[in-house]
Symmetry: C2
């Protein structure tokens, strides 16, 4: 259950906001620093009521639920070229065997908790021997997947901070001692290596326990009866992924970054409505994002929660559009008009700021220094997909404006949608080949088709035929992330390509399960299970919220 | 100031003890485990009132005084073969320069606090850069001497636990963050290495501070005016050594072991009376030691304080004798008859237990499995020294018995002293060469002479001539520790060899200062400054209480 703090603002929310609470000086400074993030025409400045938004975010901060879990047993990894990650897991002892192991210098063991969780590790460490006359120095490695504990983490070759590597060296001065490691980890496996005890004693682990943390609550709504077993398993793993990313914000991944990203939030929120139904966490996250725009009002790609809320330094065009899309989804899921009205100015501000990049030809043309994400694929041409995303944003906010009685705010949207749709078909639809293309090399990608389908550009038949042709195109550019694969599956479903959608779901998410996933990964490619977007497979996140959407898709749509 | 807890025992101390408080089951079990420590005749069992003794120890537990200290500046070590430790210290920046340093992956700095302390390290860590988007992972190395931070600690080749190496890897998840490292260290230097931040930021240390901890209080009594400067410096370093070892017990060394040893306590207590005058800490330590004898009443060589008081597994003949010697010293320093009466049975018990090793020839002959320490010298023959120590114990307790009105407990001591002195002269004094010898090879050592002198065996002239001859003997076995060197200096003083005593003090303790000591070391040999009794110089303790006695010697004796 979530604890809902009483809102401490006096009077009505809107009245408080109208009182024009000043932004904190620090937040203003932070924002100023990012003023040079992207080349852009100076549009009017926009300053939200930061303190009020942060107070609302704080009021909706959930309590974390802790579940204490015993280990399943002891395992060892065995090299096996037939496995996607190159390792087979062999059980070498039950949980009952753990307290009997006396470990001395150089000894190690790998404990299997049987599934992924985000949380703490605790244990009672005993010294066993003639004299417990020194500290015990231990190294812990926390594994989300078997390769984490089967392979040395060093030398590290990644481009992201080595500080994210899930390892810890701990010195315990006095034994016996009950220890709860203070940092939080994401893990199924815990490898313990004894750096040293002393010649006079060894150590034994008693009561080693995981303390799983999540703000997810509520029972998972069951899938329709008769759902095939492989889809049931995909749903379980997807829901576990969301659960372990639901902390006091929707984190992108609990192992690394642990940040609230605007685009990721949209998928987490959708899946949350369909599963754990903790809509207050969505509300909190929307306020956190809305509290930290730069001076023109564009929201940051991500927000840090600790040590105090602050925005990241990245600003993404597509993610900015998703703020309003997420708000529209939120109203559909909750009916909470008051929150949506409060955040409405932020939502329409995003389309206003981005409008400067829509040329007289009605095509969205991002300058080089404006990040358009879409997917991690390194050579993906993002122009067509971004055009569709902008159109999608206009459509969703046009509808939302009507629901809010704020039609006057979006009075020009219908015309802009029409013009940008026409431009999209003219510029990106190749009549000869019957597919959408993007960029000077007329690149054919699933990204373009997914987004044209979701944004409903052109006729449904046109989209369906184009998508089917794209799927059959040799060397079509395929997603590198579950994030874009979500929109591929949804795009296929929306244009009626149900069996293709199901095949994609099975091949992609089912492929991760075959590779040993207990939660779905940040990055995966069926032809390259050990894809490493940051230059070292061990820095990948193996519980990444943007991959949780099968639990949404399997409840929202019929695949047959 | 020390906080003296009110004693919670009702009525008088002796009445409480007479009520026969039961030993705790755990302590009894622990003691039973060590019953096979040494071959010995079964003498009557002896069980002290453990709970009462522990309550008295707890009632005299001092509060630690914390002194917050700023660093002196930044240094770097420069290799220099002319230095005893092979390194020269170069200043490379003032303390003011520290906050301006922005450290990224692979960067390091060495902070000099200008002197040794035992305590904690705290700092405020800032992230500096475009985005603080990852934890900071840092490695700290705490140096008592320059070689600790100038040389890699690995690979480690020592025989003691590698867990004592003064290093720590710390991951700080959120910046800015104020951090106080939870473990206590012994250090003058702190080396910080950045394992990683992220490509987007570096870290800066603001307000890095040492929190020096000691239970020593009171002002140091000044040395006589006119004391030469080198002796004043020796006294400063000796007093700092005691101060940094005075925690909630007299620790042998704050870097490693951190244990209360019976023999070390005697020297710490003597120096404490002459300097900081915290006699309650001596009382606490005597009760801790007395609480945990083995079943025959022999006290352990050492006691652990945490996680709860317990004895170590070593039992040493000479250290057992020192329990009573320390008690006799304590009465002289404090006049506290009540405590001494309470602990008197433990004191005389040690000589009783050890009596079984005194043969019909009145020579103390330790069996192979009974540890007689004397010094760390590997080939020292300890027989003569142990004979003298036993005699010294008999003499001090005989006197103490008279003072306590317990003469009947020691009524046979005068005869035993006489017999053992005669045996000592007969067995160990070589009339031909005029020196004391020990063992089958007639080894000539300073150990034998020091102890014969302290125990006053033979005439003063005989001892003086023997000691002078021994000093001049080629290949005389010299001490490896400041511990035995203390008795050498005191022995020289007691038989009237003042200039030799002064020369030894200057050569040995002055030699450590010339080698860079801010506190005196566990082990040192002028001809081999990097002596490593445990196989790796980096595991040596460079603040070791048994080397603190110059502050006692310079106040107790006239060297001129």
């Amino acid at each position: 259950m979530n604890r809902r703090k009483a809102l401490t603002l006096g009077g009505s929310l809107l009245a408080a906001l109208a009182a024009g609470m000043a932004r904190s000086a620090i937040a203003a400074d932070d924002t100023a620093k990012d003023a040079d993030q992207a080349t852009r025409h100076e549009v009017a400045t926009y300053a939200p009521p930061v303190d009020a938004f942060l107070a609302l975010a704080e009021a909706n901060k959930p309590r974390l639920n802790e579940t204490v879990q015993a280990p399943l047993g002891l395992i060892q990894p065995v090299q096996d070229a037939a496995q996607p990650l190159s390792w087979r897991i062999e059980t070498v002892g039950s949980a009952d065997a753990i307290p009997g192991k006396v470990l001395k210098k150089g000894d190690s063991l790998i404990i299997d908790f049987g599934g992924h969780r985000t949380g703490n590790l605790s244990f009672h460490l005993e010294g066993v021997g003639r004299g417990v006359d020194a500290p015990a120095r231990l190294r812990f490695v926390f594994g989300e997947v078997i390769s984490d504990v089967a392979e040395p983490l060093h030398p590290y070759t990644g481009s992201l901070s080595e500080a994210w590597l899930p390892e810890e060296i701990v010195t315990i001065d006095y034994l016996p001692q009950s220890v709860r490691l203070p940092r939080r980890y994401a893990f199924r496996f815990v490898k313990v290596e004894v750096i040293d005890t002393s010649p006079n004693f060894g150590v034994s682990f008693r009561q080693i326990q995981a303390h799983a943390l999540t703000s997810a609550s509520g029972d998972l709504k069951p899938l329709p009866s008769g759902t095939p077993a492989d889809l049931v398993r995909i749903d379980e793993v997807a829901a576990a992924t969301l659960r372990d990313c639901m902390q006091t914000t929707f984190e992108d991944g609990p192992r690394r970054d642990q940040r609230l990203w605007t685009g990721d939030l949209r998928l987490q929120a959708l899946t949350s409505y369909a599963t754990f139904k903790n809509a207050d966490l969505v509300k909190r996250c929307l306020y956190l994002i809305a509290a930290f725009p730069r001076s023109d009002g564009m929201v940051a790609g991500c927000v840090f929660e600790y040590p105090k809320p602050a925005h990241g330094h990245e600003f993404l065009a597509d993610y900015a559009v998703f703020f309003g899309v997420t708000l529209a989804d939120y109203l559909e899921a909750t009916g909470d008009m008051e929150t949506v009205r409060t955040l409405w100015p932020t939502a329409i501000r995003q389309l206003e700021v981005l409008k400067q990049y829509v040329g007289t030809d009605n095509v969205f043309a991002a300058p080089k220094d404006l990040w358009v994400f879409i997917d991690w694929h390194p050579t993906l041409d993002r122009t067509a997909a971004m055009q569709a995303i902008y159109i999608y944003g206009l459509k969703r906010l046009f509808d939302l404006g009507q629901k809010l009685g704020a039609a006057s705010d979006v009075s020009d949207y219908a015309a802009r949608i029409k013009a940008m749709e026409a431009a999209a078909l003219q510029r990106f639809y190749d009549r000869k080949s019957g597919v959408f293309v993007s960029g000077p090399d007329k690149q054919v990608s699933l990204a373009s088709h997914a987004w044209m389908s979701v944004a409903e550009v052109g006729t449904r038949t046109q989209r369906k035929q184009a998508f089917a042709k794209a799927l059959a195109t040799k060397d079509v550019v395929r997603p590198k992330t579950p994030y874009l694969n979500h929109y591929v599956v949804e795009g296929l479903l929306l244009c009626g390509l149900k069996s293709e959608a199901l095949a994609t779901l099975r091949a992609y998410w089912g492929g991760m399960i075959a590779a040993g996933a207990d939660t779905f990964w940040e990055a995966y490619a069926p032809e390259q299970p050990r894809t490493a977007p940051y230059g070292d497979f061990h820095i990948n996140s193996f519980c990444h919220a943007w991959s949780c959407t099968p639990s949404y898709l399997l409840r929202k749509y019929s695949f047959t």
